[in-house]
Symmetry: C2
Subunit: 360 residues, 2 copies
Amino acid sequence: MDRRSLIKNAGIAGVLAASAAPAIVGAQPAVRWRVASSFPRSLDTIYGGAEVFAKMVSDATGGRFQISVHPGGELMPPFGVVDGVQAGTVEAAHTCPYYFFGKDDTFAIGTAIPFGLNSRQLTAWYYDGNGLKLFREFYDAYNIVNFPCGNSGAQMGGWFRKEIKSPADLQGLKFRVGGFAGKVLSKLGAVPQLIPGGEIYQALERGTIDAVEWVGPYDDEKLGFQRVAPFYYYPGWWEGGAQIDLYVNKAAYNALTPEYKAIVAAAASHAHVNMQAMYDVRNPQALKRLVAGGTKLEAFPRSVMDAAFRASMELYTELNDTNPRWKKIYEDYAAYRRDANLWFRFTEARFDSYMQAARL
Amino acid sequence: MDRRSLIKNAGIAGVLAASAAPAIVGAQPAVRWRVASSFPRSLDTIYGGAEVFAKMVSDATGGRFQISVHPGGELMPPFGVVDGVQAGTVEAAHTCPYYFFGKDDTFAIGTAIPFGLNSRQLTAWYYDGNGLKLFREFYDAYNIVNFPCGNSGAQMGGWFRKEIKSPADLQGLKFRVGGFAGKVLSKLGAVPQLIPGGEIYQALERGTIDAVEWVGPYDDEKLGFQRVAPFYYYPGWWEGGAQIDLYVNKAAYNALTPEYKAIVAAAASHAHVNMQAMYDVRNPQALKRLVAGGTKLEAFPRSVMDAAFRASMELYTELNDTNPRWKKIYEDYAAYRRDANLWFRFTEARFDSYMQAARL
């Protein structure tokens, strides 16, 4: 059967159905959603993830399901999007769950916690482990149905005006950091600041802060941090693989047809894999440009990593003891983290380390 | 607007459209496809990838676009699926491109070549580099439109009856290996055998072959290799991240509506990310079971890795000189491989190696 005859037959079926009942077989309703992003439009990677999602939904529905994406601040403040989705002011948001650790520390696990899962592991835990199931339960109280919708990979440790040679150098450091990691940095004596992406450069330029972490070479270069801080540290031990979520208002989600629900899930998966791909293709080029421009790449010393690891595990013990919502999700996450690292250190790590040292 | 009023309004729009023309706005045609898999049904990871794809397409279309998946051998031999798609015997196949290096070595790059890209890097090159574009051009001569539709991650180096202590131990070794890598193993003196997944165990048990590589702990355990070979080597340097593709017959693809084309792309992305997640969740558990059962994990010695690396690069130079289709794709791939490994060795590798050594 060729395409024309297929369409013709479906058309006839539709006409028959239409005469019998008002709901036509195969016809899908017109739906319009707004997505409030927490990010500035200039970041084609992370802001672009919501646009990739929206375009796929539109393409898959012949434009009947239209989603407009709005940069942070346009409809509501960048960090106001959970309230917006919860109240149904917007149908959806595209954001980093860990921004909302002030509501409940459990949010942090949804993006990244210090010494947590890397990008592939977090995706695995969401898709084939218990991650999505556990977070769907947790978010229910916020009227949110969530979908993984992007990951940055392991982030850089950020831009510093001065070198970090030991944990003592963190004392009193005013450091812009993406959310929950500030709790660990506080334990180490730093003074964490949570500032939306669009406002960080100014704060660093003005000296309101001493250091800033954002994402990695490609995004950081756009925000211009290399112009005001010479040292670029790695690894971002608080973000081994930071996930961005699509948060959908529960009532808006439940109002969708089963077909549209599936299209939302598939389009989110498409945007999820596409964002990591963008970072993995664009970060290497940006890194080369930054280093050519004089940026100094530095590894955090072992003493800093170890102090941060101890402080992180101490914090997780405290949270296990005080927050049952955290404990329920963290215990499952931590068990997978143990298993995943056991497995990854054999064939994945051996292959990667050989390739990274090879003359290619 | 609630769901019912949306459907009602769409219904009215549909009725109006129906009275004007036979093609109803929003109605999509009934389509039925068959997917020939190269894999046995017992492998829920790799065979399951096609089922995840088919279910998502069905869900997204209210069952109007139905895809049945058929295990290797049911409709055609496991390695006959490219001929099947090219001739239009089936609308699609789910297979590893590198099985078809006998037609053209360029196919191999589509899955994995020795010392190639890892899983994330290969996905990045397809989605945001030139990979998909270049392969769409290459496959055009085979009437194929391809979609990445699964990845295994870095595979294990396989099951060996005897230890491999130096390149000399590869001499005369009859080794089942997944396609193109056999060319490198031949240069090292081994005797490669290409056998479909469903037939390998028997060959190893009967002693027709001395060693076998398949995928990794989860799949290998199901096929039972641990019962007939004690040594389990890593890394699978010929498959740092093996991609499985959905091959769609060009005419079948072109007959789809734009909506269905988008749904196929999104569902393939969903299956792509889901398969890697399954491996990353299930391999650790299987690895623990195998080791508890007596399997001996061994790393290939550096001398074997180095000999294989040299032989691989020699082969790629030969192919660059003799096959312009290979050269066009390989040069782009190799440039990204250089850049990607430059970037990954900083923050990704540093984070992962810290986590793999940590007491979690």
